[in-house]
């Protein structure tokens, strides 16, 4: 359980990090290392060089940028978890974060690391897809952006070009009567989710849905949006039976993952339940009947 030998670099800025990455195709970027280091210990990953971006101060921030909240790639998950701006402006992310790993892994784990790692069960990836976040990266000395929905293309596979490094992510701020819901199921608290579901709702003054976003994670190769259900439920009062019917239809034909822990049928079935609970929580919160936790 010891990593294979590698070279270690601690570049001063992201462009230097990109240059190091471009120079060696077996090099890897290390941020929090909470996934990469175990992979290296088990020798499932054998990078020739680790490019440590933890001390690049410009990559750690949480700030408002126009109508979004921007979070830097190396921002620790524990900081996002207790951040006041995130709590008020990206409440779905605030709800999702406590489900990631444990206190000691969130202390090191980063927002960008989770996104770039692209685990199908990753809570931050699900939140990014559900909220139509924009991912920003640096490549060849230029800054680029890509919508979250185009970023994830397979389990642990992203559209990030070779030699590029994720620099941050922008989450759109929803105004008005907004509520959120997040649920996941796993064998033990904070283990990898078998299925996770996220929902964010904005209600109009008439109590009907002005805007709704529903996402399901861990069930498929990468988190998915339930577009058809969102369309059907917009303008409705989110009656429980109607929500379930829409979710059932949206999830009926998904190609769900199947493994020793959970079959494809189980994942489809549970996804409906968890998404229904997430939508119900979001509705109640938007109605002011519960408080965010």
């Amino acid at each position: 359980m010891k990593a294979a030998p590698f070279e270690y670099s601690r570049p001063a800025d992201i462009d230097e990090a990109c240059a190091l990455l471009a120079a060696d195709e077996s090099a890897r970027v290390i941020a929090g290392g909470q996934t990469l280091v175990p992979m290296m210990a088990m020798r499932l990953a054998r990078p020739t060089r680790l490019i440590d971006i933890n001390r690049i101060a410009a990559l750690s921030y949480i700030r408002t940028e126009g109508d979004s909240v921007a979070v830097g790639a190396t921002t620790r998950q524990c900081l996002v978890e207790r951040d006041a701006l995130i709590a008020t402006s990206v409440p779905l992310l605030a709800r999702a974060i406590p489900n990631i790993g444990h206190v000691a892994t969130r202390a090191r784990g980063t927002v960008g690391g989770s996104l770039a790692n692209a685990d199908p069960a990753a809570e931050i990836a699900l939140t990014a897809i559900t909220l139509d976040a924009t991912l920003e990266y640096r490549a060849d000395g230029a800054s680029e952006a890509i919508p979250a929905r185009e970023f994830f293309i397979g389990p642990m596979i992203t559209a990030l070009p070779a030699g590029a490094i994720l620099s941050g992510v922008r989450f759109p701020i929803w105004q008005g009567k907004v509520g959120t819901g997040f649920h996941e199921i796993n064998a033990r608290r904070s283990d990898f989710a078998f299925v996770s579901a996220a929902a964010q709702v904005e209600l109009g003054d008439d109590g009907k849905v002005k805007r709704i976003a529903i996402g399901v994670g861990a069930a498929t190769d990468f988190p998915m949006r339930l577009d058809s259900a969102e369309q059907q439920l917009t303008g409705t009062a989110l009656d429980d039976a109607a929500v379930r019917a829409s979710l059932r239809e949206a999830l009926a034909d998904i190609e769900a993952l199947s493994d020793l822990h959970a079959s494809a049928d189980y994942r489809r079935r549970v996804a409906i339940d968890l998404a229904a609970r997430a939508v119900a929580d979001a509705r109640l919160q938007a109605q002011g009947k519960t408080h965010a936790h």
Binding site: A3, P5, F6, G33, Q34, V37, L50, V103, A104, A107
Partner: protein, 164 residues
Amino acid sequence: MRIELDVNGSKHSVDVEPRTTLLDCLRDQLGLTGTHAGCEHGVCGACTVLFDGVAVRSCLMFAVQAQGSQITTIEGVTPGPGELSPVQDAFCETHGMQCGFCTPAMILTAHALLANNPSPTREEIVEAISGNICRCTGYAQIVEAIALAAERMRGANRPSELRK
């Protein structure tokens, strides 16, 4: 690579390979074997140390990444030689351990929790130690120990804090 570490208040300069984890550096090069090597891939929590005051898994960091940082291990929580910290004392009193393998990490995790939250609820204690596996106790007495330590630390005179 040569790195400087501040471990339990003393400065150390050690020569490590990049692949040496902080855990192995503490145990093998500094002789601080109170930090236990369990699964060595981030699952069991037995290697938890305080890294700049925050509880982290020392098997999930390479020692080179800790250059210039302050680290507290179980050897550094006692107020003086032969004494116990309030958390250690509470673990003894409530029988919060059996084999003792998970105990140093449980105690450091509890110290980190109580530094930020002097009055944790039972749920908050459970959440805080949820990343630390204990295969003996069933956790009940560990939770009890941390609650007892919290109560005592709240009641203790802490002039340095009163002055703040």
